[in-house]
Symmetry: C2
Subunit: 90 residues, 2 copies
């Protein structure tokens, strides 16, 4: 629920950073094995990435800035892909 956006006008940028297909994900494999040990051997694959939420004042060009942050800081483009999924009022 955006409370009084005219006063504060802050936004939440939500970014997903996932390991690329074909790149090993040891943490995901450990979870898959643990689920199998719990009796869920039907699980074929588990991949674990990051969800990053950035809170900042609303300003022009936020999606472009978020993509720049992903390129420069938030992801390793060699082995990860990123997605700016939403920019929403807080």
């Amino acid at each position: 629920m955006p409370s009084n956006p005219e006063k504060t006008s802050r936004v939440r940028v939500t970014i997903l950073v996932r390991i690329r297909e074909g790149v090993l994900d040891p943490q995901g494999e450990a979870v898959r094995q643990a689920l199998s040990d719990m009796g869920h051997s039907q699980v074929e694959d588990v991949r674990i990435g990051k969800v990053i939420e950035v809170i900042l004042p609303s300003e022009p060009g936020i999606p472009e800035k978020a993509r720049e942050w992903c390129e420069r800081l938030l992801s390793n483009p060699v082995v990860e892909r990123y997605e700016v999924v939403s920019v929403e009022p807080v």
Copy 2:
């Protein structure tokens, strides 16, 4: 694009695990500081959680099972909250 779902019928369960509000997030704070050092001092807060994708054959009750996995294995309910955001054909 679900390719021939009658034959394979696998699904991807997507789960978000976020650190609860009020709980410290040192990794997020480090990213906030790094963004500030890059000239983006307007960023107020950064929170870093996990996006977990589980691939398995379609079966009844998958959302309930995913919530059980979150409770027992994928999250620490004391400091994290989880959300099963989608169950989609692969």
